[in-house]
């Protein structure tokens, strides 16, 4: 046996195969794709460029193209094919020779084109601000959003509700506003809530709030400071010898002043020292530990906080010059400045007095929310609940963990969410089920009838709340109007999800506010741009009712509230 070699044929086929394999091994990213964040003003030199950058950013990052296509039948390529020539025909962009009328005509056309393109966008969080030339030297910024041509129904605005809802509530009504920093009244992060039992049926407890910032009520974050750490309580930061042998003190030539200032500073130091190990403070520490284990704001905790504050307020103000008025001389100033600095170091850094201040203030300020709502819910003394989310436009997701999960008794799927993944317009992850989780410490012991009040301005986290709570069973009903239909999630870091964008593009030619995800309800229905259908529909307020709720709150009849009270009373 011998082997026969077919040289020519092998050579030809071998070369072909080699070409095939060589081509296959070429680098994938031969032509880098421009990410939205990489566009600059140099990419926008014409209306056509303006449209193209907008189109491309949407193409890469928008999460609802599949649903969008199903709704209006137009795909994004068709938009490009239709509008790119239209924008290209607008020639005045950036040209200084054109007259104002021409520029204005082009501007109006461009705005109309953008409205036509953006109005059908179903994502109701989405908006984009676009800079458009107004004349030779000036630009205007115009805001576009999905559904911008739609008329919205009247709403039960929060400010109006604050006026008339009190008429429905009993003597236990509480209305509070506080910010992220305990004791500070004005801040860009605040929560205002109103709650109390319903006069007509005191078994029903009512709660409304202006935004999902209830997490600002969370006391746990104020309870874990070093100040409250027992191991730290006997540590001496500012030792007596630092005062006794202080060189700056020795430099005071007037012996009387020297002695007086020494006595005064030792007195201040010892009072602060005594305070940090005072029994009242130990009681407060103990109560804080108990709170962390139970999330119950007891009367003892509140009393301990108040006592600690009283003692604290009696302490000498070591950091105020007036405290040293009797001994302050040019010679003693150096020593006093040193003392204030050392005390600041000791009190502020080693004893974390700021944390203490925040903790006691927070307990006193936020106790009503716990003692009247969270703790009774957990205890089971609130039998029925009205959660009024009308005109509540949403807020922070962490409110789910802080509050909404307290109304959850079982783990169920309540929605599905997906994000972009790869580069294609339709490169989506699978739908990721979102599950409820009962609150670890403060949840309700068993299901209670809950009526969620909604209107056309209940958006985002309000809608998440409706979906989540309704997954718990038929004891939860929504009453009122359809919600707004804005359920997708927003992040300031869209790179985390390969979709969405929040921020400027092309050196401020655009500002995009685009969610990174798409959401569908537990039945697989997309509610974005549609809203959640209420279980019990109550028509939105008429213009006359809106006027009345604002101007004559005492006589205003809230039909949604009436329906909710009637419904819950029958349960």
């Amino acid at each position: 046996m011998y082997v026969k070699l077919y040289k020519k044929a092998a050579f030809v086929l071998g070369v072909l195969l080699a070409i095939l394999i060589f081509n296959a091994c070429e680098l994938d990213d031969k032509y880098p794709i421009t990410a939205p964040e990489q566009y600059t003003k140099n990419d926008v030199k014409s209306y056509a460029d303006l449209f193209k950058v907008f189109w491309t950013v949407m193409n890469q990052r928008y999460s609802y193209f599949y649903e969008q296509k199903r709704k209006d039948g137009k795909d994004w390529d068709a938009i490009y094919n239709e509008y790119y020539p239209k924008f290209s025909a607008l020639k005045t962009f950036g040209r200084s020779t054109d007259d104002k009328n021409e520029i204005d005509t082009d501007k109006v056309k461009a705005l109309h084109y953008f409205i036509d393109i953006i109005n059908p966008i179903i994502d109701r969080h989405f908006f984009v601000k676009i800079k458009v030339p107004l004349n030779r030297y000036q630009y205007g910024i115009f805001r576009f959003r999905g559904g911008m041509k739609e008329q919205h129904a009247n709403s039960y605005m929060f400010s109006s509700k604050l006026g008339y809802i009190k008429n429905y509530l009993g003597n236990d009504t509480i209305c509070q506003k506080y910010t992220a920093i305990p004791g500070v009244k004005n801040s860009n992060r605040s929560i205002t809530y109103l709650m109390g039992s319903v006069k007509k049926n005191p078994d029903i407890y009512y709660l409304t709030y202006d935004s999902f910032s209830l997490y600002l009520s969370d006391l746990t974050k104020f309870m874990s400071s070093k100040f409250l750490n027992e191991n730290n309580q006997n540590e001496l930061g500012l030792r007596t010898r630092n005062i006794e042998n202080n060189l700056l003190l020795e430099r005071i030539t007037d012996l009387t002043v020297r002695e007086n200032v020494k006595v005064l500073t030792r007195d201040i130091q010892s009072k602060w020292e005594a305070f940090t190990i005072a029994p009242e403070l130990n009681v407060f520490r103990t109560q804080c530990r108990q709170f962390r284990a139970t999330e119950i704001v007891s009367d003892d905790l509140l009393e301990a906080a108040r006592s600690a504050v009283i003692n604290y307020d009696e302490l000498p103000a070591y950091n105020e010059e007036a405290t040293y008025a009797t001994v302050l001389t040019p010679e003693s100033r150096l020593y006093i400045d040193w003392f204030i600095s050392e005390m600041g170091q000791y009190i502020g850094n080693e004893r974390n007095i700021n944390d203490f201040e925040k903790a006691v203030t927070a307990v006193i300020e936020r106790a009503p929310f716990y003692q009247n709502l969270l703790n009774p819910l957990h205890k089971g003394t609130i039998k029925k609940l009205i959660l009024d989310l009308r005109s509540n436009g949403g807020g922070a997701v962490k409110d789910l963990q802080f509050f909404i999960e307290r109304l959850v008794t079982k783990s169920t799927i309540w929605s599905y969410e997906r994000t972009k993944e790869g580069n294609g317009r339709f490169d989506y992850t699978p739908w990721i089920p979102q599950k409820t989780k009962p609150h670890e410490l403060g949840g309700i012991p068993s299901n209670i009838p809950i009526a969620i009040l909604t209107d056309n301005y209940s958006a985002s986290m309000s809608e998440i709340t409706v979906l989540l709570l309704k997954s718990q069973g038929n004891h939860v009903v929504s009453i009122g109007d359809y919600t707004y239909g804005a359920t997708a999630s927003i992040t300031p870091n869209p790179a985390d999800f390969n979709g969405g964008i929040v921020g400027s593009v092309a050196d401020n030619w655009f500002y995009f506010y685009m969610p990174f995800s798409a959401v569908k309800d537990v039945n697989g229905e997309i509610i974005e741009g549609i809203g959640i259908k209420p279980d019990i529909y109550v028509a939105p307020p008429t213009d006359a009712e809106v006027t009345q709720m604002e101007n004559a709150p005492d006589t205003f009849v809230d039909r949604v509230m009436e329906a909710a009270v009637n419904h819950l009373s029958s349960k």
Partner: protein, 201 residues
């Protein structure tokens, strides 16, 4: 029957800490070969090929991934030559190379991944069989490409034992919605297999 190794060619240059990496799978073929004129032959087959790959976030975003398990029915049309063969027609060692094209059909796609469940604030594992009726990702089930093959075998009269190395270079975009060539996504796949064949005169 043998093993496959596949990857997705995709341009992710505008995405941060994102990459596709290759994955292993299983493959099986029923092959037919017809000698036109020595040493040239035509070859075709009906192949079941798993072309698996993984999308994953890397670096600081490590943790999110999707494993794609694609089951393809592939039909190659190859022309080849016998490079080496024994003088004894019915017995001995041989070496063949072949090249051509293939068409394929994506029968089934299963995705297994891990993602951040935002409202639960944790990673979550998800497994699903892709719904081609909805086809939300606008996947193109029909594909085509180029194929090359190198086979080494030993014949025992009518029966032959052989090993083969296969390479498929996808030319068709896996997405039916993409119009930008720079964003095209194609699959390339290797297969190493062993088999046996029977010669009908």
């Amino acid at each position: 029957m043998g093993y496959t190794y596949s990857n997705l060619n995709a341009n992710l240059s505008n995405l941060v800490e994102s990459k596709y990496s290759g994955g292993y799978g299983f493959g099986a073929s029923l092959t037919g070969e017809y000698a036109i004129r020595k040493p040239v032959f035509l070859k075709t087959a009906v192949s079941f090929l798993q072309k698996n790959y993984t999308f994953r976030r890397t670096g600081s975003r490590l943790g999110w991934y999707t494993k794609y398990y694609n089951d393809f029915l592939s039909i190659p049309f190859l022309v080849g030559v016998t490079v080496l063969s024994s003088a004894d027609k019915s017995q001995g060692v041989w070496l063949k190379i072949a090249g051509g094209t293939y068409i394929e059909y994506l029968m089934r796609l299963q995705r297994k991944g891990q993602y951040i469940a935002l409202t639960e604030n944790r990673y979550k594992k998800v497994s699903e069989t892709y719904d081609f009726k909805k086809n939300e990702n606008m996947l193109n089930r029909l594909g085509y490409g180029l194929q090359g093959q190198l086979s080494l075998g030993y014949s025992f009269k009518k029966w032959t034992l052989y090993g083969t190395s296969n390479y498929q270079y996808g030319l068709s975009d896996i997405s039916m919605a993409n119009t930008n060539k720079n964003m095209q996504k194609t699959i390339q796949s290797y297969m190493i297999a062993a088999g046996t064949s029977y010669q009908f005169n």
